[in-house]
Symmetry: C2
Subunit: 207 residues, 2 copies
């Protein structure tokens, strides 16, 4: 849960060190968490001020005091979201750790709040390209960076071939996880599939 809500955020519209009652940070968090929940469950289109207020247990006035439009609200929610970092495996070989991370990604795609937000934002990217870009840069890119690090570790330790081009390896490693996870709510994937695929990609001789 950490803390946060960066200083530069739009949130602080009028009440920067004012004299009266200060704004409740609890209310800030309640609102943004509610937005993230709704986006994950039913999509950005279905975010409504009234619905968020009801869900967060907060008055509409408290929302409008902070965000004067739905766009500002969703943008702030995404900025607030920063990195529900998945636990990065630390034990085992580079292959095992990479497998752990990637299989976690695959499994989280349809089920986790994180994964569902990504899909819903992607679906709305036509309507709201600015938000899509923001999510891509603030959420997806950092995630990918962690995978890159793990691949680099494997290369440095000699476990993976040294001539790997990471920019080519990324789609080859991550892509199959998207393929396997994306529709798994209607067509579940056997648990051994991920490792079969990773083995085929990283140890072609065993294919």
């Amino acid at each position: 849960m950490v803390d946060v809500l960066s200083e530069e955020t739009e949130v602080a519209k009028a009440s920067c060190k004012g004299r009266g009652r200060p704004r409740s940070e609890d209310v800030d968090h309640l609102i943004l968490e509610a937005v993230l929940d709704v986006v994950a469950e039913v999509g950005i289109t279905s975010v409504s001020m009234e619905g968020i207020a009801a869900r967060a247990g907060v008055s509409k006035a408290s929302i409008y005091r902070r965000f004067d439009s739905k766009d500002k609200l969703t943008v702030a929610a995404v900025e607030y979201m920063r990195e529900q970092s998945p636990e990065i495996p630390t034990s085992g070989t580079a292959f095992e750790r990479l497998h752990g991370l990637l299989d976690g990604l695959r499994a989280s795609l349809p089920s986790s709040r994180y994964g569902r937000i990504m899909v819903n934002v992607l679906a709305a990217s036509n309507e709201n390209p600015a938000l899509a870009k923001l999510v891509y840069e603030r959420i997806l890119i950092p995630r990918r960076a962690r995978i890159r690090e793990l691949i680099q570790e494997g290369i440095d330790s000699g476990e993976f071939p040294s001539n790997i081009n990471i920019d080519v390896a990324m789609p080859i490693l991550v892509g199959p996880m998207l393929y396997l996870g994306m529709w798994s709510m209607v067509d579940p994937v056997s648990e051994t599939k991920t490792i079969d695929v990773l083995r085929a990609v990283l140890n072609p001789q065993h294919q």
Copy 2:
């Protein structure tokens, strides 16, 4: 545009060979096309009877005469959708044809009506799992079958290694296209990337 509208569809609710004025097939098509357009552009949640009527240039009554709920309407639209088959390349090596098909898939992901419908249905899969399953089985599976055929052709002709397991090869070939295409509207992919990836997957010695 073909023809179609299967006989078993829900559409024929009361007017199977009745006596009066027959239902216009033009109206059938106008309605379902409008639904597909709206789903592609703004998502299933945003499909409204009024919106469809206006867009199709049809009265609401004509819609309700055929579909008594929005669910029935969207399901019928998907069933009507059957396969806007992408042109399957016929010239060149198996690699070249596979590349053509897969690169077409990648490029169509964010831009084509087909690709946008898939993402929007996926995003709504929580709310409407039945529709998600229908789309998956009627649209996605047949598409994948065509890719499988192309891979099998390459194996049969000796161009691809004979020990390939197609169930493993599919995620490895298709997955990277998802990875590269999915966010390309906010982060365009260089055109040579697809072929780099395919080369790395199919000719590991050149990696």
